[in-house]
């Protein structure tokens, strides 16, 4: 009798085993992703090793749960402290060069080469000058940026930081880290800064 009962229970367990689906873990899924790419040109496989922020923000978007306030603030503070401001203290370069950088969408793709000068791809997501109507809307409009915010030290510093590493101000922002990730050089960031904050820039006309 007892033996039969045990037999019945183990039989059920086997049935349940067949019917139970065990989802792949996050680690397994990420491992599968890593096995599915190959390096090409400048795009090496180490690009798939996620930074802490990339991992935290992927989870937040997938689950729809915001990063807890304390964790978010601690990370933003750490990032803010890591921003490198221009060594010579000059924030603004040439806005005409800045416009070229904002228009250019090349760089860092496997179809580019080591000699490609990276663009900023700003118009992909932002409105900037009145004249350019082919702009995206993933980021906010930056038309009249300097005129609206004022050409003061605080705005200069904030904007530099935002371009250098956007996550200092908005942890899971979708904007690339232009300075921190080495997408643009310091001189290029100065030019983009001028596009936004030079009173003579078409952005502020």
């Amino acid at each position: 009798m007892k033996k039969q009962a045990i037999f019945a229970i183990s039989g059920l367990a086997v049935l349940a085993g067949c019917a139970t689906y065990v989802a792949p873990t996050k680690e397994e899924s990420i491992q599968t992703v890593k096995s599915s790419f190959k390096e090409r040109g400048p795009a090496k496989l180490d690009r798939l090793n996620q930074t802490e922020i990339q991992a935290v923000c992927s989870d937040a978007q997938m689950t729809g749960k915001e990063v807890p306030k304390a964790q978010r603030e601690a990370l933003e503070k750490k990032i803010l402290a890591s921003i490198k401001y221009p060594a010579d203290g000059k924030f603004l370069g040439d806005y005409k060069q800045g416009e070229r950088i904002a228009q250019s969408g090349v760089g860092l793709q496997w179809s580019d080469n080591e000699k490609t000068v990276n663009g900023g791809n700003c118009y992909a997501c932002h409105q900037l000058t009145e004249a350019e109507v082919s702009f995206g809307n993933i980021g906010p409009s930056l038309k009249g940026y300097g005129k609206l915010r004022g050409y003061n030290e605080a705005t200069l510093k904030y904007t530099w930081g935002k371009i250098w590493n956007t996550h200092a101000y908005n942890l899971c922002s979708q904007m690339p880290r232009y300075g921190d990730a080495g997408i643009l050089s310091e001189a290029q960031i100065k030019d983009v800064m001028a596009l936004l904050l030079d009173p003579n820039s078409p952005v502020n006309k």
């Binding site: 689906y21 065990v22 989802a23 792949p24 996050k26 397994e28 899924s29 990420i30 599968t32 992703v33 096995s35 599915s36 790419f37 190959k38 390096e39 090409r40 795009a43 090496k44 496989l45 690009r47 798939l48 090793n49 996620q50 930074t51 922020i53 990339q54 991992a55 923000c57 992927s58 989870d59 978007q61 997938m62 860092l108 793709q109 496997w110 179809s111 118009y123 992909a124 997501c125 409105q127 009145e130 109507v133 082919s134 702009f135 995206g136 809307n137 993933i138 979708q174 690339p176 880290r177 990730a181 080495g182 997408i183």
Partner: protein, 272 residues
Amino acid sequence: MSRQTWATTVAGMILSVASVSVHAQGSAAEGIARYREMLQDGNPAELTVARGEELWRTKRGPKNVSLEQCDLGLGAGVVKGAYAQMPRYFADADQVMDFESRAVWCMVNLQGMDRAAITKSPYSGAGQKQTDIEALAAYAVEMSRGMPVNIPQSHPKEKASFDRGRQAFYMRGGPYDFSCATCHGVNNQRIRLQDLPNISGNKQDADRAFTTWPAYRVSQGALRTMQWRLYDCFRQQRWPELVFLSPTSIDLITFLGVNANGAKMDAPAIKR
């Protein structure tokens, strides 16, 4: 007016509308939609579909057999409606396969072709003729036109493919920190003037994203497959190269397909 002259005229109209002012963006989008609609009447993909059908029926490879005994999931030789139900689990290969993976599997296992050789250059280059895989995909998807997407989720490996696909969709990485969801997770977003479907949160967008590939790309003068679509997205995402038929390529197609279940297939479509 010939099709080509006509297309050039409409394209010119769109450009002139786009350059008027910012307020013209809405009408530019409408213009592009109209342009697509009108081109649909004479989609150059028809030529590729015809070549795909011929390839399917022709005896080829070391074993000199056609693909007519290839099982796309609905039984050997059944092409009608099969594309709308892939990716799916195939017991003979013990894995989930999208159409392109399955076509290659049949070319290798039925026709005796060399896998490395046929997967070396799966996408046609500028000015080249469409590859065999592109032609076969065009034919197969045409044979599912108007049929509801019905990607199965009953086998554990089909469920696992979806779950991994979802994880991959949200995975941020690379020097731009982008995931698929960066551009395809919010309604009404654009890159420049290009509308981006919200694949994870908007059923209509998800439907359109899956049901309109493969597509004839006017700007490239070529038919492009779903594998190509993902491969070129990751290029712009600044990731390394997505390997043709890799697990993640199949997982993402499963994720896209399941999100589009119930929608009607409408490919090969025609796109900008």
